[in-house]
């Protein structure tokens, strides 16, 4: 490791461990710090170009060192996180009820793990993984699915009667979480035509593009039931344009967005609504923009309100 790389690692290390970023996932931290360096570049430049840091190096080169160090930190934290999430937070036994082929849950888990690692090498897919990782890593999905089946209203009807999933609530939660983890693949398979030149993520995709992505994703996730892969990719469709999309895809879309900026343990100010209630309320007003199912948002908002989430 060169002296510059060591300095960059030391500098980024201190940023990484800054208390203001405590509680964020590695990808959230990475995104925050990338933006921080971008926004505060002009202010940081004189200090970082000083003899204490990187003398005689142009700013773009300094940024390269810092970005690389940042990616190293994130990757170092991501590997065990993927392992822990897939091992402890998702039970893949639900595939036995969906699949016509006899794949072992452990094999599916291992294949998904590899797929996630692959996705995290793609810049936009990596960004898109933020929400799903946070959602699966916390118990958000499990808590809501449990309440959904207790209520026996719109969402449970959509899952049981419309999508015809005859699996337990826990398995539904695992299915939704798996769907969320597959969802970022749309970014990985998007070409220059679909993805704006700025490298921004695709918010919603067309059904034609979704079909292409499904075909590509199936190759990498050969052991995963096709319906799960389809659901993961279809979660990026607009519900207004595709009213027959899977309820698990709709839930995955909502929870992925919800968890993108989720800060567990966030203190709610007096006079403010709770975090989830606020988010679902705002999402109800923006449902067309994000292609969400409004009725689902209404029910999830109700659950958040009832439980003070």
């Amino acid at each position: 490791m060169s002296a510059e790389q060591q300095k960059a690692a030391a500098f980024v290390g201190r940023l990484w461990n800054n208390p203001s970023l405590a509680g964020l996932s590695p990808l959230q931290k990475e995104e925050q710090l990338q933006q921080f360096l971008e926004v505060n570049g002009p202010t940081l430049k004189p200090t970082l170009s000083s003899p204490s840091f990187f003398p005689n190096l142009p700013w773009p080169r300094i940024r390269e060192f810092l970005n690389q160090a940042l990616a190293d930190y994130a990757n170092e934290a991501l590997a065990p996180l993927y392992e822990a999430i897939l091992e402890k937070k998702v039970n893949f036994s639900f595939i036995q009820h969906l699949s016509h082929q006899s794949a072992m849950p452990s094999s599916v888990q291992a294949q998904l793990g590899e797929f996630m690692k692959k996705m995290s090498t793609h810049p936009t897919a990596r960004k898109e993984l933020t929400g799903p990782l946070m959602g699966v890593g916390t118990d958000v999905v499990d808590l809501y699915i449990e309440r959904i089946f207790q209520r026996q209203k719109y969402v449970s009807f959509e899952i049981r009667k419309v999508q015809r999933l005859k699996i337990s609530p826990n398995e539904v939660a695992d299915l939704v979480k798996t769907t969320m983890l597959i969802r970022p693949s749309i970014q990985m398979f998007s070409s220059a035509e679909q993805s704006p030149s700025s490298g921004r993520n695709l918010l919603l995709i067309s059904s034609a593009f979704a079909s292409k992505v499904i075909e590509e994703a199936k190759k990498s996730l050969s052991l995963m039931p096709e319906s799960v892969v389809k659901s993961g990719v279809n979660s990026a469709l607009s519900f207004q344009d595709n009213p027959y999309m899977e309820s698990t895809a709709r839930l995955a879309a909502i929870f992925s967005h919800r968890c993108r900026n989720l800060k567990p343990g966030m203190k709610v100010d007096r006079g403010a609504e709770s975090s989830d209630k606020s988010w679902f309320s705002v999402a109800r007003k923006n449902y067309k923009f994000y292609g969400f199912d409004l009725d689902m948002l209404v029910e999830l908002h109700g659950i958040a309100a009832e439980n003070g989430w």
Binding site: L15, S20, L24, K127, A272, E273, V282
Partner: protein
């Protein structure tokens, strides 16, 4: 080994000022307790020895607060901010609750005790009771000290809640205290007949009757009969000869202070009248005002502060954070009962229009709101 940071002049000055403020606050609490105790002791008929101690402590407190007022005034004058201190920093409270009390109540009382004279009660005429009553009324002004305590108590996090509540508390308490003092003083110097006025009239009538009919107390038996029929009479003397005494000398010495009786001459007779019932009536009034003011202040603090926080400062703080911080996206909680308030209609617009727009804008920018700022890494940039 890490050496402790050296304390600079400002730190020392700040610490000294805090120490002094703490001492003053403690004194305020103690003077309030002292004032209540003084009245309770009068009402309970405590011995003169105990009540005398409280007279001296009352004087000490009034002297302390007068000195405090003078120091603060001097400091303000040096800073050319006397007007600011007097009117904006409640210097008028410091003044009214110290100097007049020292000059008109505790000062003369202690002076009379130390010189052996009898303050107020030493007058030959019972009309001086009016002065005593008016002067005692002024002791209620010590309650104004409460206002100073409230400014030091941090009972609410929001500065705005504190300021509004303190303003209301001070307005209500000051109005109550001033009006009670002024009205009480007016009543004290007028001739409206009340319990203590009736007591005073009874004494005057007794003296007049003995002036006109000296034979009524001629001899111990007649004096005994006459004295027992007059509840306000303590002692009847003909020159130095005691004709009648309601209590023995030991009781008189133990329970009666110089201001608890007054002496009036009627011919060759000297009549000692008991003033304690009038003092008890005054103490009852003082305690009523004292405790009522405390109740008003506490009720305002307990009920109004949360109400103000819920209906004004909390929603304002939430909206201010939402407008200022990109990552803050919590909605304002709108209580159904107040939904039509102007502030909550604004909050509804914030919830329904601003937050969704902000969320879409953040998504379109493809970036999450920053939780870290340059301030968070200031130490890092210094290295």
């Amino acid at each position: 080994m890490v050496s402790p940071r050296k304390m600079d002049g400002n730190d020392m000055k700040g610490r000294f000022r805090n120490l002094i403020e703490s001492v003053v606050t403690t004194a305020i609490i103690l003077v309030l307790i002292q004032t209540i105790a003084e009245d309770v002791l009068v009402m309970s008929g405590a011995s003169w020895l105990i009540r005398r101690i409280f007279l001296y402590t009352g004087f000490a407190f009034d002297l302390f607060f007068t000195v405090e007022f003078l120091i603060r005034s001097w400091d303000a004058i040096i800073r050319r901010a006397f007007g600011h201190y007097l009117f904006r920093e409640n210097g008028w409270v410091d003044f009214i609750a110290s100097v007049p009390l020292l000059i008109f109540t505790s000062g003369p009382e202690v002076l009379a005790l130390s010189t052996g004279a009898v303050f107020a009660g030493s007058g030959a005429v019972l009309g001086l009771l009016k002065v005593v009553k008016a002067v005692r009324m002024a002791r209620v002004l010590r309650l104004l000290r409460l206002l100073k305590i409230f400014r030091r108590i941090r009972f609410a996090e929001s500065v705005m809640v504190q300021r509004h509540t303190v303003r209301i508390v001070t307005t209500a308490a000051a109005t109550l205290i001033f009006s009670a003092t002024v009205i009480g003083t007016v009543f004290a110097v007028t001739d409206y007949t009340g319990t203590d006025e009736a007591w005073r009239s009874e004494g005057e009538a007794a003296a007049v009757s003995l002036e006109k009919r000296p034979d009524l107390a001629a001899g111990p038996d007649a004096a005994q009969l006459w004295g027992e029929s007059r509840p306000s009479v303590l002692l009847v003397k003909d020159d130095d000869w005691t004709l009648y005494a309601r209590n023995d000398d030991a009781v008189l010495a133990r329970y009666f202070g110089p201001s608890d009786f007054t002496i009036r001459s009627a011919g060759s007779y000297s009549i000692w009248f008991d003033l304690r019932p009038a003092a008890v009536a005054q103490s009852k009034l003082n305690l009523t005002i004292f405790l009522s003011t405390l109740a008003v202040v506490l009720v305002i603090m307990v009920t109004y502060s949360p109400h103000f926080a819920i209906t004004v400062s909390d929603p304002v703080n939430v909206m201010a954070r939402g407008l200022k911080e990109k990552s803050y996206n919590l909605e304002v909680s709108i209580p159904p009962d107040y939904a039509e308030d102007g502030l909550f209609r604004l909050a509804a617009a914030y919830n329904d229009e601003f937050l969704p727009l902000k969320e879409r804008s953040t998504t379109e920018e493809q970036g999450s709101a920053l939780d870290i700022s340059l301030d968070d890494i200031s130490d890092l940039l210094k290295t």
